[in-house]
């Protein structure tokens, strides 16, 4: 993949929740970096869009926020996934797997016919 792809529409929430579940509480920049690293820098999130997404997740009660200190001693806001968020994440994860596997089947089928 030569061109960095945008985050698939609607999946940023899922990615953020998964990241927080895997990594524990993180501040905004760490979340952004983590997403880029995991995708081997193939996913370029417009980092500014991360904060509205975080706010929305907070409003829905899926993540909680807490002020703390970064490793460098900077005052930062940490985000952590809540129990409600975990439940949401697992539902969405299942949905995603199912949808992805269906699409994958179609591609396999198309290849076989060819």
């Amino acid at each position: 993949m030569s061109v960095k792809s945008d985050v698939l529409h609607g999946t940023l929430d899922l990615i953020v929740l998964k990241t927080l579940e895997a990594m524990g509480p993180l501040h905004g920049y760490a979340i952004a970096r983590r997403i880029e690293q995991v995708s081997s820098d193939q996913l370029a999130i417009n980092q500014g869009t991360l904060y509205p997404a975080l706010l929305k997740l907070g409003h829905r009660g899926w993540i909680s926020t807490k002020w703390g200190q970064s490793q460098t001693g900077r005052r930062v806001k940490f985000y952590a996934i809540t129990r409600l968020g975990r439940r949401q994440l697992h539902t969405e994860e299942d949905d995603w797997q199912r949808a992805a596997s269906i699409v994958t089947k179609f591609f396999r089928l198309a290849k076989a016919v060819k």
Binding site: Y29, N46, G48, Y51, L55, K77
Partner: protein
């Protein structure tokens, strides 16, 4: 629901949340710049790159804000704030506008209150007020005019559609020895006044028709309820007592019920027979002329419709 609560909270903590966001974004940019420096970019370049990767910080703040609070409510608030600032910049203009608005609104309110009290609301204490009509002669030019007492007697004698007609005119009098109880706004009324209006007296009785004969005036007075309370302490033995009206001894025949203050909303009132004018002004022949002269205007004339009469036919019957 949770989201709604969060937005409400955001509305009132706007400033703090804005500061928090600005702080978060600057932390983000610092971390990003530091990362870029670590990868070998010079400081300036690192900061610019961090900024670019973030995508306009302004837009992020705006997008963040749209998710917070209620954008519409806030823009209304901003418009209001802008209006206040503009007004403050032109104080003279503002003062003039405020004074004009306050005056006009106040005037409108008091006029309406006055009109409603005087014209629209039926008199308190009157029995069956829907049968009670006010009578105005219409002159040749189509204007409503007043009625002289002579005119009133003519109407009373000839009106067929009215069960009763009564007249009244305001008269202020001095009460007590040498006016010691003060001046009060009273009404001269025809002898059938309380009967026609169906007023149930609080004490004693109303006037009798024979107490209002121009030839033989009787010195009887009826007190308004609040006047009885305020100037006579609600004295239970007031009926039959003699009080001085314009210095002349009058016998109290009764007390009007609470709330009944005659045709105008005044608080302290006495009622006197019209014929007693000659007793109230023994040395003033002109005062008495009003009793007889058809040209001496004006008294208010009020009638009670005869059974079966409606306002419309009543207007033609007289």
């Amino acid at each position: 629901m949770r989201s709604l609560v969060a937005r409400l909270v955001a509305l009132f903590r706007r400033r703090r949340l804005d500061e928090e966001l600005a702080d978060e974004i600057s932390a983000h940019l610092e971390f990003a710049a530091a990362d870029h420096v670590e990868r070998g970019l010079p400081g300036d370049e690192a900061r610019r790159t961090a900024s670019r990767r973030f995508g306009g910080a302004r837009q992020a703040e705006e997008a963040y804000r749209d998710r917070q609070g209620f954008p519409l409510l806030e823009s209304i608030w901003q418009d209001g704030y802008y209006a206040i600032r503009t007004l403050r910049r032109q104080p003279a203009f503002t003062v003039v506008v405020l004074v004009v608005l306050a005056t006009v609104i106040g005037l409108n309110t008091s006029l309406f209150t006055l009109t409603a009290g005087l014209l629209l609301r039926p008199w308190a204490g009157v029995g069956n007020p829907s049968q009670v009509v006010t009578i105005y002669p219409i002159d040749s030019a189509g204007r409503a005019s007043g009625v002289s007492l002579a005119g009133y007697r003519f109407i009373a004698d000839h009106a067929t559609s009215l069960a009763g007609v009564t007249a009244m005119r305001p008269e202020s009098v001095d009460l007590g020895e040498d006016g010691g109880l003060g001046k009060t706004g009273g009404f001269l009324v025809s002898g059938n006044f309380f009967d026609v209006l169906g007023v149930v007296m609080a004490r004693g009785r109303g006037f009798r028709p024979d107490e209002d004969r121009p030839g033989s005036p009787q010195a009887v007075v009826i007190l308004g309820f609040s006047l009885w309370q305020s100037r006579f302490g609600g004295d239970a033995g007031i009926v039959g007592a003699r009080i001085r009206v314009n210095g002349v001894p009058f016998t109290v025949a009764g007390v009007a019920p609470a709330g009944f203050v005659g045709p105008e909303p005044r608080s302290a009132t006495v009622f006197l027979p019209i014929a007693s004018l000659s007793l109230l002004h023994p040395n003033d022949a002109s005062a008495v002329r009003v009793l007889y002269q058809p040209g001496d205007c004006c008294s208010d004339v009020v009638g009670r419709l005869a059974p079966g009469q409606h306002t419309r036919t009543g207007g033609r019957g007289a």
